[in-house]
Amino acid sequence: MKKYAVALGLAAAIAFPALAQAKTVTLNTTLKGYGGNGAYLAIYLTDAQGKFHSTLRVAGGKAKYHSHLRDWSRGERRNVDGITGASVGSGQSLKVSVNVADALIDAGYQIRIDSAVENGRENAAEVVVPLTAANAGKPVSGKGYVKSFSFDM
């Protein structure tokens, strides 16, 4: 029995080498009650100078509106279908878990959020939080539509 478990663990380690070097990070975003149509959000990583690194999550499925998420859309050039969900309504929350490579944590990278609402504001980088273990679990608020954002890992 024990032999099997060891074999299974070994197989998993070989099959998912990335798991060994990545952390699951849970992103909690709650929007203000701004009373408009659903907000488009882009949650992404930049380096300390604000240079785009990679996308964590996009809320809002119609690609033609993605250009309104200004900073993010200038950085992201790849297809984001796999990490895109529905837009987030006024006063609603979005909770998603993503895998972040260990090498990016406590290495000067930042989590940023761009947001946009139809006939409303377009907020580039309304949330900027350094991706450090110390910041985990500490809620911050954005200047635009984000009432609070925190990440747990």
Binding site: R70, S73, R74, E122, N123
Partner: protein, 738 residues
Amino acid sequence: MLRQFHALPGLLAAILVVMLAVTGAILSLDPILQRAANTPPTAGQISVAALAEAVTANHREVDRIVKTASGAVIAYYFDGDRAAADLVDPKSGQTIGPYAPSDFIRFVTNLHRSFLMGDAGRAAAGIGALAMVVLSISGAMMLAARMGGWTAILRPVCGTASQRWHTELGRFAVLGLMLSALTGCYMSLATFGALPDGAIVEPSVLTDVNGGARAPVAQLAALKSVDVTDLRELAFPKAGDLSDFYVLNTAQGIGHVDAATGAMLGYQPHGLGRQVYETIYMLHTGQGLWPLALILALAALTVPFLSAFGALIWWKRRSALPRIPHNVGAQSADTIILVGSEGNSTWGFAGTLHAALTQAGHRVHTAPMNRLVPAYANAARMLILTATYGDGAAPASAKRFLARLDAVKHPLPVAVLGFGDRSFPHFCRFAEDVAAALHARGWPVLSKLACIDRQSAQEFARWGKDLGNTLGTELTLTHVAARPKTIALELIERVDYGAEVQAPTVILRFAAPKATLNASFWRRLRAPRLPEFEPGDLVGILPPGSDLPRFYSLASSNRDGVLEICVRKHPGGLCSSFLHELEPGVRIEAFLRKNPAFRPARGKAPLILIGAGTGIGPLAGFIRHNAGRRRVHLYWGGRDPASDFLYEGEMTKYLADRRLTHLSTIFSRVSGGGYVQDRIASDANELRDLIQRGAQVLVCGGRDMATGVARGLEAIIGPMGLELQTLKSTGRYLEDVY
């Protein structure tokens, strides 16, 4: 065919189309109100740089200036950590007040775009727009076909109230609706990516941003060169990031503007798709084009009424067709029965025949004669049952039969059975015309033309037996006339005339009887009401001991509160004798039938009303309802002014209050008297003048009188180069003859 094209999408998509129209009408108020709130700047009045300068002077940290499609300018800014927005005067940049988009308008917009149901709703809205296109086009084509060509579509319409309303509203709104629907289809297809939606492509970010200290926005060359009329949006660079730049979006293109030098760093002109989209967006919403918004709103507001009247017309048409059990489709039937009927009595015979043939194992299709189709795949024979209308004309359900006959490729063995009344000179005339037309086109005769007199069940049974012999089956036709659904009427007044001149005539006024005490609570609560009718419509009365209704022209509208008829007693007449014996308080059973073919055209054109004897009834009704005081000339003939001058008192009153312009009477039993056709001949000049001015002629009365009047008028209008047939075909000469 065209009618199905119109009715089917109309019924299926009614709710979608009405929702789109009502929400659309509400939304088009927005551009009108916006335009009323502020007038847009003219070209050359203010540059984007000057506008931005004025806005930054009044706000601490401006984020973005947006000019909406309707021309309103909104400044988004931060006041410390508080995000806010102001409405700004586009001519000066001065703050008008805080910008708070209306939740109601947002809700209605979402309802209009997607019925609040996401992509499924968006697809439904697109289908609604498509239905609207189909309805507008098929409706316009039906109108043209009905009025006799595209040049005639603005002529006055005849028909029942719902038909008139539907047509009037439809032709008022059709162009606006077509524009809304076509642009709506485009926008729907653009939403789903099937057509270009003109999405803006930003130029790629360049690295050669100057990065120096920012110049005042008013001095930036690239912003100074752009007029506010061309502005779409100006995004400001982030406060703390010197490598950031302005993004300027205009009607022509999008570019990055260096915040330090004012130079245009990268510029991407909009594609054709963007311009097309903006134009179509403007045409659809009326944003920035408020007179169009007003027109579209008015057009959209007709849609709920168009739907309601359309549904009513459809339902009335449908319920007017008697239900025939086991009615097989036209293409699978072996026997086709076509019915030409003005009322519904011929349908009863068709139903009996249908049932008997079905019993004998045939697959039978029964339809109105107007629904003749070019080919019947499995048919071996056709049976045509038709009445005759008026003086040998086609009845309502057969009016288009002869015109459609030429399209039929394969003649079938055919039998024609006419229904009529032998006492009329043109007994079964239309049936004879149909038989002759079929013969001329080489249709084989299945059995000889036969005619049924006064709905005789015996003659019908005999014809059926003969037909059975021809088909080789026993066919027993037992026809029992269905009694129409009747209403109760109570006689409240009678006025007698003409006994001295051997023409006893009575004007009878009926009202809806008051509910009795043992009637249900709801019936008693409701005031007794007559069903809807107009002067010239018909009331059918079944005299005791007869299944054959007699029809009388109505002299009143239900709005008068009474149902009024004018009846002369005929020697030996079953129904007229019955009516002449009625005393006030007595109730009879009757039913109503619309007669839209005999009604004055609406408008201001003069009316020439001609009648004799009881024919004055509907004419008096028309005069009574001449609220618009159009010119009305009445020519009427009686026997003796001392005895049978019907409606004498009323006519004096109508002359005094100008509902009647001119009354010309003539009496046959006084010395120097004559008939109404004589009076017409002596008034030729006056009549010519009226007809020249577009007058409509309505003739009501006995057959001989009508023939005389027609001949007389023919002679009068001949010198004008007009023919009676022309007046008839344009609805300017109408007859109600008995």
